[in-house]
């Protein structure tokens, strides 16, 4: 019992150390400068909006805010996660890590945790900047905005897991390209499947169902449409619970996919 507890503590310490490493590396690479520049762009855009007068543009301003937030935070998530492993391998910094008593899964998990942490920090910083800019124009927020932030953070964790998995199978550039296509295109692909489903034969219908099940359902984590417009009630708690469960399952699945490749990879 004690041994089990100690093992768990050790694992937690390992994951924490690895995540901290990713965060420090991100700071060293000045990734957060990108966030600062993007934040500056948000402030500039808000200033431009102010020229026209915000009266009547509240919904538009909020809509713009959530769109920009979604876009920038997704870019951060993909860029941070895709290069984690290829960079470690290329710079040979993986050897000292693997010489320690940690499993390759622990390494993957810790890296993913770090990427999620960096992305969440960037997202929250950008969210604060956007909220500040919107509050200047007396734009009001409804409780659903809180759910938007939580759901978006869960969605970003999925983006990190998918990008990390891509990074184990291909070059960082290819992984980033594919991750961006999935992040910005999966909802359109799903819409296309929905439109084509009724006109397809049963076999193709099952193929569509399969594709839909495999594709990451990023659009489910985006409550921006509700948050930007008025009069939408918060979503039921079972939905938030479902999103949490889906996030955990999908992230674990993606980590499993990464591990399948990484555990046999000759380094």
């Amino acid at each position: 019992m004690k041994l089990d507890m100690r093992l768990r503590m050790t694992k937690l310490r390992v994951w924490r150390a690895l995540a901290r490493g990713v965060l420090l590396e991100s700071l060293r690479r000045k990734d957060l400068w990108v966030v600062a520049i993007l934040g500056f762009l948000i402030i500039c855009a808000a200033g431009a909006l102010g020229i026209f007068g915000i009266n009547g543009l509240q919904a538009f301003a909020k809509d713009l805010g959530v769109t920009v937030l979604g876009l920038f935070s997704t870019i951060m998530a993909v860029v941070t996660s895709c290069r984690l492993l290829p960079d470690e391998i290329k710079q040979r910094t993986l050897y000292p890590l693997l010489s320690r008593p940690i499993s390759r899964f622990d390494l993957l998990f810790g890296k993913w945790l770090g990427a999620v942490l960096v992305t969440w920090i960037a997202f929250l910083l950008l969210a604060l900047l956007t909220a500040g800019a919107l509050l200047t124009f007396q734009v009001t927020f409804q409780p659903i905005m809180l759910q938007y932030v939580v759901a978006k953070m869960m969605g970003l964790a999925v983006v990190c897991a998918v990008s990390l998995a891509m990074g184990t199978y291909m070059t960082p550039q290819a992984a980033a390209t594919l991750s961006f296509i999935l992040a910005f295109g999966s909802s359109q692909i799903i819409r296309g499947l929905l439109m084509a489903y009724d006109a397809s034969n049963p076999v193709i219908g099952w193929v569509f169902k399969g594709i839909n099940a495999i594709l990451p359902q990023y659009s489910l984590f985006d409550l921006g449409g509700r948050a930007a417009n008025t009069g939408w009630a918060p979503v039921p708690m079972w939905v938030m619970g479902f999103l949490l469960a889906y996030m955990l399952i999908y992230c674990l699945g993606m980590l499993g996919v990464s591990w399948t490749k990484f555990r046999r990879q000759a380094i």
Binding site: G53, N55, G205, K209, N212, S219, G225, N229, G231
Partner: protein
């Protein structure tokens, strides 16, 4: 000697290559009217006349098109709609039509929700969750938000893209919903600003004339604008797109009515005859002509 010859040959090939590129470039200019036909001011597809090939022009058109779509989104309180396909219509999918709330003419209504209803969705729980998290609701017999919420966007899109005629006419229509003299003035002023930016537009002067005739009853002033629309319409008869043709049709109708109310039957008759020739499929113009003394 060999290298000299080599250099000479490569120089010749380079010159030939450059010549071919120049020829192709010149030829492209001839092809342009075919692949990129003269721009229709009132449509979103291409952008503006003067800057259609410039990056700025493309950006402005794209931005105004995006704002146009956002305005449509706010009219539906965030519920994303899309045009229904012919195949869906044939399969019996019903259009999410609008209730007669006075705003239904502001946009095309042959639409359904982008997020499908439960009956149209094969995704099971994923579909259920999306209908909960997206701004989705059953849009059969739906109502619209007050279009005034979208007015700042029309202002913004016409500022970004002054050649976007539809933005001007829709903005003018929204302002005219305020039936007070002040509302009418603001609508007419807005449209006049649009006409200044688009002096060849038929739809804008037609709408100015129509608004003045309906709201102020100043027929003399209305006739000036409607006649201008008629004249421009005749001049641009061949390159008028749908929206502009509708503007011309409205101009014929209201011009005839103005002349009728002013007691000028000859002018009324000539306008109606011309209108029937231009719009042989119109149902109202022949009726008006048959009643003409």
């Amino acid at each position: 000697m060999k290298s000299k010859g080599g250099i000479r040959a490569s120089a010749i090939f380079t010159a030939l290559g450059l010549g071919m590129i120049v020829c192709a470039g010149l030829k492209v200019q001839d092809v342009r009217p075919i692949v990129n036909p003269p721009i229709r001011d009132e449509n979103l597809d291409v952008g503006e006349n003067n800057a259609s090939v410039s990056l700025m022009g493309q950006f402005r058109s794209t931005a105004s098109a995006w704002l146009w779509l956002r305005a449509d989104l706010y009219l539906h309180n965030g519920v994303e709609m899309r045009p229904i396909s012919d195949e869906e219509l044939n399969r019996g999918v019903s259009v999410d039509n609008a209730r007669d709330d006075g705003h239904e003419k502001l946009h095309a209504e042959n639409e359904i929700t982008s997020v499908p209803s439960k009956e149209r969705d094969f995704r099971g729980i994923f579909g259920d969750v999306e209908r909960q998290v997206a701004s989705y609701q059953d849009m059969h017999n739906h109502v619209h938000n007050d279009p005034v919420v979208a007015m700042p966007l029309y202002r913004l899109m016409t500022w970004l893209d002054p050649q976007f005629v539809q933005g001007w006419t829709m903005g003018g229509m929204i302002l005219a919903r305020d039936r007070s003299p002040d509302g009418t003035k603001r609508s007419v002023d807005f449209l006049k600003e649009g006409w200044k930016a688009n002096p060849t537009s038929v739809d804008i002067p037609s709408q100015i004339g129509y608004t003045i005739a309906r709201r102020t009853g100043n027929l003399d002033e209305a006739v000036q604008y409607l006649e201008a629309a008629r004249k421009l319409g005749r001049k641009r008869e061949r390159d008028l797109a749908d929206q502009e043709r509708e503007g011309l049709r409205t101009a014929y109708r209201f011009l005839a009515l103005c002349y009728r109310d002013e007691g000028k039957p000859e002018l009324e008759k000539s306008v109606l005859e011309e209108g029937v020739r231009a719009f042989p499929d119109d149902l109202i113009l022949p009726k008006l002509l048959s009643r003409c003394p």
